[in-house]
Symmetry: none
Subunit: 238 residues, 4 copies
Amino acid sequence: MKSPGHVASLVTDAKLVGERRAQILRAAVKLFSGEGYYTTTISQIAREAGVSTGLIYQYFGDKDDVLFLSLKLVLETYEKEIPPRLAEVKHPVERLCMALWAYCTIVDRLREATVLAYRSTKSLRADRRSLVKQDELRTNRLLHDCLRACIAGGYMRQVNEYLLVYQYVTFCHAWALKHWALRDKFGLGKYVSEGIGLLVEPFLTAKGRVTLAAMRRRTANFTRSVTATKPAKRARAA
Amino acid sequence: MKSPGHVASLVTDAKLVGERRAQILRAAVKLFSGEGYYTTTISQIAREAGVSTGLIYQYFGDKDDVLFLSLKLVLETYEKEIPPRLAEVKHPVERLCMALWAYCTIVDRLREATVLAYRSTKSLRADRRSLVKQDELRTNRLLHDCLRACIAGGYMRQVNEYLLVYQYVTFCHAWALKHWALRDKFGLGKYVSEGIGLLVEPFLTAKGRVTLAAMRRRTANFTRSVTATKPAKRARAA
Amino acid sequence: MKSPGHVASLVTDAKLVGERRAQILRAAVKLFSGEGYYTTTISQIAREAGVSTGLIYQYFGDKDDVLFLSLKLVLETYEKEIPPRLAEVKHPVERLCMALWAYCTIVDRLREATVLAYRSTKSLRADRRSLVKQDELRTNRLLHDCLRACIAGGYMRQVNEYLLVYQYVTFCHAWALKHWALRDKFGLGKYVSEGIGLLVEPFLTAKGRVTLAAMRRRTANFTRSVTATKPAKRARAA
Amino acid sequence: MKSPGHVASLVTDAKLVGERRAQILRAAVKLFSGEGYYTTTISQIAREAGVSTGLIYQYFGDKDDVLFLSLKLVLETYEKEIPPRLAEVKHPVERLCMALWAYCTIVDRLREATVLAYRSTKSLRADRRSLVKQDELRTNRLLHDCLRACIAGGYMRQVNEYLLVYQYVTFCHAWALKHWALRDKFGLGKYVSEGIGLLVEPFLTAKGRVTLAAMRRRTANFTRSVTATKPAKRARAA
DNA sequence: AATGAATGAGTGTTCATTCAT
DNA sequence: TATGAATGAACACTCATTCAT
């Protein structure tokens, strides 16, 4: 009767539902990220969102619903924010590098929320876990497409694509998961740049390397400026 | 008075403390791994371990103590089981590959527990989190030493060692964290073998590649047999 | 942040807080008085008050809070009920006697609760004990003022006022504390009357004695009627 | 079958029972006095007494037994220590004063334990409370006898003996119960001396007053020296 | 006689969820 | 639609008591 992906609301006005949910989820992601799912109470979320506890139950069926949509919100951020960052970029190698760069940038902004996804996906009702995994897979596909284009264009040699994509994914996630160990060694720009050196460059063909070298020259200071930009706010999913 | 790493026991007999704690932790790791820290109750642990709830409090100060020692148990397993697997292996490149192989084998055996470490480290009292991280760092050092030996011996070119080690770590952990996505594509043996292709091979010098190729020839069926062995026990920390 | 005298409530409506706390404290004083602090459970209090256990924690921070306000309720009853009983009385000697009489009347009504104060003040958090003692001191002061007026008016000779006030206090409290031994020998009226004979009369000057004698003549039957009134309600703090 | 006053022991050797019980009760009185009955655990008592928890159950049936004998130990101390202090004293007025003095001295030594008796008698099994009250009554009788002798000897006028005895009792107990308020105003010697002024002197006949005056002259420095002696140790029942 | 490990019933407290207003 | 007071099941933890050694 109730499909796993559906979240019921007692309120009918669709626009209101959208606004209220966004308001509540913003609070939830912040608190879940900081304190974890189980140690965050519904009433803390209500307070943070500036609403009453009762209101939350007008827009979500239960606490699991709040977690579910919180995680979706985070994972969909990856999926939605990477493509626009690729829009202007044409060259396959540049697109791949930009995708990694974009992904890491977003992870950096949602650092705590990314950790949350690792911590709390198992706290979801079982039938919903796979839905969240679908979201992750869709993001992976973005990277996979970039990778495939490099190979298809002859910029990269044949590799185990599937596995390499997972290296890319874990590389990006590691910026959040292992931040405690990485932050002393790298800024974000350096991290991505060195990562490309380990996970992209070795597989490039001669002509692929030319592109990368050119790109590197061009973005040397871009990287620096972006690194400097990578601004304060964290753990905000929207 | 109470250092963060210390877990008090009301029982004085050291041997008994060791046995009972092992018995209780076995149950705790199993349940925490399957159900998560917060949804596992002390009384479930007691039932699983075949003791009374009260007994747990004779050997642990509180539930956080149980989690702490559970996580340490898991992380120390990595640290303790990798070195013996390297004992016989002399050649730097082989040692590096064997370390990756060993690490992945152990992760495979402790798959659920490895996920637990990612889920639940943040549930620990803050002052203990860093202790657990120390354990992880010590395991990383094992890999780093292997990597360094490869470079020092001229089998591998200069690379960003620190970052590459983290690629190794996330690669091994991914076998547990992303098992839902990887198991359909790879057996454990294939996974490690392909991983070496992506994370070791590209950085080898000519003479390093010779060693790797030889090793591959030698262990082709070894890999298969080990892969076949794999299914055995899981989520057992000892 | 939290001063010892402050008791937090999650409920904001001040009127409701007042009513609910009164309702819960009525139950608590009754049960604490009868069974003692430690043997009374929160859930007994909830049942007696006709509310859920959870509700108690909306109006009190913890069980200690309930005890604290229970004791304050009792001690403040003394302080608040004695002055109105003195309002009409002008003559110093009569005021002193009336104060003793009033105090004993109230103790009689709150007999069990008075015993509670002796039993359970030490069960309070240390920083609150002194607050309860302040309440007692304020009641003592009422007696002291009466005593001082007698001396100042020349109705009583110089005495160690401080100590005599404490004799008055223990005399009144003894009606509750030693009721098991006193009830067979005295009614309340007789008890007070004889007590005045021992603790007031001997210190009166000639003109003080005249007043006392006159008063005694006047209230002979009054005493009896009040004594007859006595049985009424007990252990009700409001 | 089991009389309220009986405390069973699994151990048969009477001498051993006596010694072990004394050892355990010493610890119990100390801890009960300081922390209260309910907040003191059997295992704390065992530790303080230097024995195992199991041993306590060889000499006492349950925790109530320990409290019962602890309270008896305290109350019997009054009853047993006052008479020897009166042994040498012949004159009725002096005997009365000495009794008060002795009682207060003992209360002072057992200050915490005296408070314990007030706090914890109601925690006893109901059928045992009256036994403890019997002990108190026997001590009261010591004072009553002294008072009666004064009146019989014409040193004191007729008074409500029963009530006056209770004033004496509460006066002595108050030194423990209200010590927080009295200690700033009086030393023990002054307290007793002034108390005699309020509770004995007013009722003396002319010839009684002569005795008291003489006694006062004699013991002026005695009082002081005893006050000075009133030594360190407290809350020790034996 | 003495130990102390083991038990498990019982308590204070929390918090997701409901519902009258 | 929105509130927040009220509920009560559930959990971590304690401790009197038992009993094998």
